[in-house]
Amino acid sequence: MQLHQNLDAAFSALADPTRRAILTRLARGEATVTELAQPFEMTQPAISQHLKVLEDAGLVAVRVDGVRRPRRLVKPGIEAIDKWLDLLRKGLEKSYDRLDLLLAEMNIPPKGGKNP
């Protein structure tokens, strides 16, 4: 269940406000650790720690550019989260589609039966 583990890691990574802010910043384009640390009152090692979590979760990748190491979003990682939420919606929707049919078929009287 490689995919499952990735999703666990991805959602855990998203559970932190600083990491969400880093992703928001990277959505505008790649940035180095120094650039990423600027808007936060955090040391570079602290930011690097967050980046490591995001990289392990497959959401962020490093590019080597001479001495620079800019970070960028990994599109498939982000899209996997999107698709997963979409599937959850679809699983729920399936149940509620059945309920729609029942409600239409049964024409349940407002006062109900054995339940209050």
Binding site: L7, L87, L88, L92, Y96, L103, P116
Partner: protein, 160 residues
Amino acid sequence: MSKLTLKTEGDTHIIVTRHFAAPPEAVYRAHTDPTIVQKWLLGPEGWTMPVCRMETKPGGSFRYEWANAKGQGFYITGEYLELHPHSRIVHVERMFLPDPTPDNHVETRFDADGSGTLMTMRMTLPDTKTRAMMLASGMEHGMEASYVRLEGMIPVAQIA
């Protein structure tokens, strides 16, 4: 366009909304009458709910058990905290997979919306970590089937 919305709020909530073309009385009853619940609360294709016990009063408990043809199964237990016909249900639940998940506190509202009902389910998890786990592991009903589908879909550019 799907009628259902699922989104996160703050650090610990998940909000699901859905419109139904039936009055709140009917939708409420479809959530509190076990013979009706058993027919629809099944998640993906291929699952049935052989056990559906509900003691619909404050402090009462409920138990749902699901099974599929491959012999897999899991269950949820919970307790009702509040039942306000036909507008609101508050309960806690946990899933056994087979180990119990942390308690999920769920408030379900049924508000009149035109001639139908707007249902709003507000789930509150104990912490961000649990919510992350719940979203990642499939919060509803035998998502195994969906995993398989998801794995099949990953190479595909778009599924929505």
